[in-house]
Symmetry: D2
């Protein structure tokens, strides 16, 4: 078994990591960290648990550690990071320098030149950037990132369309409140309402997707030359980001081509990888967040509403933002790191 | 005073007509029609009133008539139609033939060649199609339509951009449940959910907007030569359609140009016309449905989030779907018909 | 295996029956009925499936039958009824006369003198009323009912309190929209709102609970002599009825007595019976519908907020209204019928 | 004009005060206070305004002052307090000592012996406690409180029932999220959910209602000798607390008696006092928060669902929690203070 830990284990994403790691075939969770205020407490006392499955018994009694390299046992093979980005920015490099491999969901450093930003089914080969990273930074460990939840929802479908010459993407998102963390959206803001702005989100979708779809050149990533414009909205759903995508490709494509490309999207033989990666609906009113977010145990992407427009194709896609879009994304990256011998 | 009536007065849009006509300076409401089952009842008994202001006292005791030309007094100057489209398709022409002028919110005949589809601030001159209509159909009356609620939300902003050479529009809508009528969306469908499909809505936005933005040629309307692609979503809000718009223009424009064009949108001196027509927000998280749908007593359009993209401009717009987008739209058309001497 | 069927299989409760019977250790589902319009279709075509798990493969291809004694194979051991009450009132007696045993969730006949109204953990012995029923009606089959969803939520807790001399109950309910069926509550009614009235519900809670808590006397049920007053509200939750209960008992009881009585509530060794029956929370803000409705796979009752008042005890209880409160209730009655040899 | 100020003017209740004072016939708003961090800023910059009407122009430019006796002009006749209770506990006595009259919505000191807790239509005579207060505390100013929002919703109906010998009250509340302040309830807590606990709320309802319904004895208030038990729930509505009330009286009363008593509830000739005080609905599904919270401009109480139980009467009542239940309550107390010559 691979010995793993969760950094920032008491927050919303941290709790998801613990839920998803429960019963994992290869990973053994033994290390939990949080802010100094919680260090020394048992997890059951430190966390205000909010998921609808109980805290796993063997996790509840783990003593929470400080989020500090010195507090983490040297033999921990892999650390999952659910740290706030300002903490991640400070602590993650220190951990990598101390020799730990970190699979991180934090938003810091995602577009740094020598940091692999990875969705395993999309760009597993970008992991090789770790060699560049280690050389440049002198690290024994490694830092690997997954993209933002709204980016992850869309990119598995876009990657299937690159064969047609992807040139232009307009995307509107309808994002669930859980994406902002437990206290991120107040009820007064969102009941009977929609908020057409999520700070920084549009830029993340525009840059991260082009890096993900880029080519590893041996010493870096050459970003995809395409335009991506995003308009991000918060809606009153709990989980599941739905996105309306308009694409233009250099080749003419039909809705059938697109559906076929989605259905043929490659899958991986990793414990948390869904099969199929993209589930295509024929019913025009699907996918819907509440009905479809748990497809593939929350790791699949759903697509539907594929239609021709005057200038290209439009379709809708959906993924579970705190599973495929956050904790599950880092977990899958961890499984890829293990398979490819980086631990 | 102009004597007016409401066709289909017991439904959701019918109720809004009654609410908006209460205290109107020029229009005197004296005729209410409904299905034969309700004919002969007092309005207070025939309607299950659902608005948060009470039924106006003088309306409550009006006896409901059958929706039939023979049942409507000849001296009724103007009829507002909130009929279901299948009923409207049958009854509205019969009323026009009988000499009545009908300002209709029903979706039938909106894109017919000789039927004016009008937003007064956008294309008041299209009313002249009535002459063509009367000649072709041999009517004494006239039939005038307002567009669909999702179209109305967007077109007052698009018309301000035609000066820059509007070429391409991608729009995603986040539409309130009231747009589907009182029973159109069940709670099981929409709580903790979003439905990425509204039957026929996307086609309506694509065709109606091009007709509205077209040019009256003397004997018809030459539709705007631009591509419009829409993706329509139902979200759990009560009132107020929010729309994310991506536009491309032949001229280069800046966000400041766009904001200026919105602010300069012309207004009309009609009782229900808002001033300004388009309210522009600088805060990036506005407009929001719950906070901004009642601007201009529900008749204004709100816009915000204006930004450059790699290929054009994106922005958000919002209007109250059952006021500016339905009953208020027909009412304003009625006011225009009165001003221009068509009654 | 016991051969079972579902009457009214295409509706919301019918779908839950199918979901719960999937993989059942003792029951083999082979018969599905619906209205004549659907008879002859495959189930996958006849039903608009709305649950978040897919239709079981072996069920999807079953041909739907008419809800008629002649259309149902004689060797069907047990029928679960999800019929609308007006249909149930007509068809269920005919089925019983034809020799079928019917475990019904329909509201008709629940308080009839010779019809057992049963919650297995509460009054399993009431099944013996079947002998009375068969004698009086000359049936070979039998009709057994489960109570209304709001009654089921409360009665497992009340039965634990009868040892203290239960005299008076005031209950306020906060009921989920799914209790009204898929189209029962429109979104316009319930978004940003609460409806303090559910037709007939208060009377059901008052009568059904007293019958359930009554004593089987050999030839009938002597209802519990206590007063039960209910105030029923619909709230914007999807599943899970929460109830505030105020009770007065002839003996003095402490919150600890009450918690102990709940925890000691007997459980049954039936496939769908939860253990414990009543889960008691110490946190004052639990149970909550979204977090706790799936306890015991949706078959447990959750309780919390136990406090003394000046005149007795107050507490909150919660159950999943379409599992423990509907399909699961009938299923558990079916398991009891099988165990006790009534099939 | 009476010169007034608002303490804690930037928060949710403070904003309501400003909205309600806009255009007030007798009160001229000139003083706004907030925490030291905001002191010195213009109100438009200091407050994140969240109401759906704009900041009144003449208020937007007022310079915010520190919440300190020295910072408030001596000639301010009346101060409305929207302070957090811990701040109110410290600052309000200092202001009274400095000679200011404070009409406060803060929860501190509500049940203190010499502090009038007042709903003008219920117990205006309790204002005479001010004489006791001034004597005991040596104040020139005065401190008057209004009760908690959930208490205010119920007490105007209970006071109408005291003529029948009110003995026992059980109440369940369905309270809107705005009662917890703008950030008090997160969306993750309340979407598709209900929380059956509001810290301290049940005790407030039980004590405050008995003080309000008590008798002024010349040197204090003799609380009503009745039992009041409350069960408080947070539901996903924005504004408007709905309450299910079960009462027992020493005299036999019919639903007609109760409806009559509600309709006969006395009203006051004050600018913000509604007429009628209690609006009685015959429709069993009313009042509903979204439809009825704005009755009497948000200052009326709505009642309905009046029925006999085996032991008394049950009914539902509703009021707007941030108008009648908070800012409007203090404002009405201020109007009473002015009328009775206490300023």
């Amino acid at each position: 078994m691979t010995s793993v830990g969760v950094l920032g284990a008491t927050g919303a994403v941290g709790q998801r990591f613990i839920q998803l790691l429960d019963g994992h075939p290869d990973f053994d969770l033994s290390v939990l960290t949080a802010s100094p205020a919680s260090a020394g407490e048992r997890y059951r006392d430190a966390a205000k648990w909010r998921l609808d499955t109980p805290i796993p018994d063997d996790v509840a009694d783990i003593t929470v550690r400080d989020t500090d390299p010195d507090a983490i046992p040297d033999d921990t093979d892999l650390l999952f990071s659910a740290l706030p980005s300002d903490v991640g920015e400070r602590v993650e490099p220190a951990l990598c320098e101390a020799g730990f491999v970190v699979s991180s969901n934090s938003s810091n450093a995602r577009v740094a030149d020598d940091v692999p930003l990875v969705i395993p089914e999309v760009n597993a080969d970008h992991l090789e950037l770790i060699d560049v990273q280690r050389e440049e930074r002198g690290w024994d460990g490694a830092l690997v990132k997954n993209p933002n939840c709204s980016t992850i929802t869309m990119v598995p479908t876009l990657t299937a369309l690159t064969q047609f010459g992807l040139e232009r993407v307009h995307v509107s998102t309808l994002q669930a409140v859980s994406g902002a963390g437990y206290s991120g959206v107040t009820s007064m803001e969102i009941l009977d309402n929609v908020v057409p702005h999520i700070g920084g989100e549009e830029a993340k979708m525009e840059t991260e997707s082009r890096k993900l779809l880029g080519e590893f050149t041996g010493d870096g990533v050459s970003w995809l030359d395409a335009t991506v414009s995003a308009s991000c909205n918060r809606v009153p759903t709990l989980d599941g980001h739905l996105e309306n995508v308009f694409v233009e490709t250099s080749e003419d494509v039909t809705p059938e081509d697109v559906a076929g490309a989605f259905e043929d999207a490659p899958t991986l033989d990793l414990p948390s990888a869904p099969d199929p990666l993209v589930e295509v609906f024929e019913e025009p009113d699907r996918p819907q967040p509440r009905l479809d977010r748990m497809l593939g145990d929350g790791m699949a992407v759903a697509a539907g509403g594929i239609q021709e427009t005057d200038t290209g194709i439009q379709y809708n896609c959906l993924a579970h933002n705190t599973i495929r879009g956050a904790a599950g994304a880092s977990l899958l990256n961890g499984e890829l790191l293990a398979r490819d011998g980086w631990l």
